[in-house]
């Protein structure tokens, strides 16, 4: 093509063509996690001042632990939301995962490892069904997963009552495999006076993996694309259905993971637990800069969102206030985050020439 005649200014050195960079401020402000980071620092400083019990390494790691139990699933929910979908069954599936494992092994008297793997397969299947139904029917994921949510919530209680005669799962601490699984999912170790729960390390690992996946792999590119404009993505050859189903399965995998943690930490589960957590995941993702409509957000932002959750839920207790205010606070955070996100999206897509 010999039309480079049209390129008005002749390049002085064609070997290294100059490329313009947007100003530092506009690049930094365009990042999804900036708002959350500023909020996290403000809240952190606030509790340092307001709650004396907050000012220690021990309580910092307790906050991290609290954050990790939400943060692990929130990573998956964040990716899913970047991919443009919702999963309301993400909270209750953590309980389902634990119940499948514990009751199967208790009823049949088999090694807990068998039950854990069975539970994993079951959770992945639920994720697959969620994704498949959404893609196949075109019904919004909000409705499909609302259905799964109720099915699982009811089945959790119903099956538990059938098997154990009460609404809590039986004690499994004497069954084979309890110790080894406990080491993986629910152990802790001491660093000086500080107790570090292993879930904090798992959380960090999952966040790092998700960050790598999103920014540095082809799959990550596809996640942004299917969330930002699914039709465009399909037209240029992105496997939209496969990508979205994979994201649903990612959420259910991480839900299984947290379910395993809860089971092996407490060895019995209340069948009604987990309900409501799906909103905490979504709040963590949105506060972390994920756009509700998809196509924008990142893993570090979601992690900061979960950290804000952990910090405030414990900070209020450390400060000696009525913990009932916590929910009100979360609501305010969510509203602020949505407003900031809206503003950032406008900035990012508005035309800025010269």
């Amino acid at each position: 093509m010999s039309h480079s005649v049209q390129a008005a200014p002749p390049m002085p050195a064609p070997a290294e063509p100059p490329r313009f960079r947007r100003s530092l401020s506009s690049r930094v402000l365009g990042r999804p996690e900036v708002g959350a980071l500023v909020a996290a620092i403000l809240i952190f400083v606030f509790f340092l001042i307001a709650a004396p019990a907050f000012r220690s390494a021990e309580s910092f790691f307790t906050v991290l632990y609290q954050s990790s139990t939400i943060g692990i699933v929130a990573v998956g929910v964040g990716l899913l939301m970047i991919g443009g979908e919702f999963d309301l069954s993400a909270g209750v599936i953590t309980t389902t995962a634990g119940l499948v494992n514990s009751m199967f092994c208790w009823y049949f008297g088999v090694n807990l490892w068998v039950g854990a793997l069975l539970s994993l397969a079951f959770c992945l299947l639920i994720g697959f069904v969620n994704g498949y139904l959404v893609m196949r029917t075109g019904i919004p994921s909000f409705l499909i997963t609302l259905g799964t949510f109720f099915v699982l919530q009811g089945a959790n209680l119903g099956v538990t009552k059938l098997v154990s005669g009460s609404v809590s799962s039986p004690d499994i601490s004497q069954i084979q495999g309890y110790d080894s699984l406990g080491k993986i999912f629910a152990s802790s170790f001491k660093v000086g006076p500080v107790t570090v729960w292993i879930t904090v390390l798992w959380w960090a690992l999952f966040v790092a993996l998700a960050a790598w996946l999103l920014q540095r792999t082809r799959t990550g590119n596809w996640v942004y694309a299917v969330g930002g404009a699914a039709a465009s993505a399909r037209a240029v050859g992105v496997p939209v259905v496969r990508t979205k189903i994979g994201l649903f399965m990612g959420v259910s995998f991480l839900g299984w993971f947290v379910g395993m943690h809860t089971l092996y930490r407490f060895n019995t589960l209340q069948a009604g637990n987990g309900v409501g957590n799906e909103f905490l995941y979504i709040i963590a993702a949105v506060v972390g800069g994920t756009l509700l409509t998809g196509g924008f957000g990142n893993a570090v932002g979601v992690a900061i969102g979960a950290f804000i959750f952990g910090m405030t839920s414990l900070g209020i207790v450390y400060a000696g206030w009525d913990p009932n205010w916590f929910k009100a606070f979360l609501g305010v955070m969510l509203l602020l985050a949505v407003l900031v996100n809206l503003y950032i999206k406008r900035m990012a897509t508005s035309r800025r020439l010269s």
């Binding site: 093509m1 540095r216 993505a233 897509t349």
Partner: protein
Amino acid sequence: MTTLIEMENVGKSYGAIRALRDISLKVNAGEVTCVLGDNGAGKSTLIKIMSGLHPHNEGALLVDGEKQTFSSPREALDHGIATVYQDLAVVPLMEVWRNFFLGAEISAGRFPLAGLRIKQMKRIADEELRKMGIVVQDIDQPIGTLSGGQRQCVAIARAVYFGARVLILDEPTAALGVKQSGVVLKYVAAARDAGLGVVFITHNPHHAYLVGDHFIILKLGTAVLDRTRDEVDLDELTTQMAGGDELAELSHELGR
């Protein structure tokens, strides 16, 4: 002159509605085939068949002389048929270079976590855009910040770079101003000169006549005109597009 795509009596029904019937056309390398028609004439259905979004259910679609029925855009792309859509050309919130390589990313391996070759992709995207005379401010800016014409050009540059032999353009000038339309038409000509077969969908006969070698006018799902450039002039195209006989009748009825 090699024929890249040939359609023989192709038709398409959506349930009871026949959106397209008995369409026969050839797309030759180094030529611009213009498909004109009013809204609802079947232009979109025609390109959806060629680009793999919807399979046809009558007649035959031949690519390089072999019968094909595409069931996904990926298959069409694998045969070198790339489509630039009017509205769904790009993902607005993603960076220019990510859009450029979307669906054909360069990565270090096939492993799902294999890293992307980001520097290489940015460099190539920048170079290819410069070749077409598009200088974006920052290859990292979201493509939504570019103008409509620039976005079309990025999409065209992308298709050309990824070895498209057939370039289907769906109303690339419909939403653009005069000057931007000119820019896009220049790239259409450039793609033709590079030896691509171009299918140019439009409802503007003036734009079509500027670059076209072959003209097909669709009306209610059938071809009402099928001529080469030698056989038709702009006036006839314009009249046909405006309604032809119907228009004459209407003017008679209105009687002024």
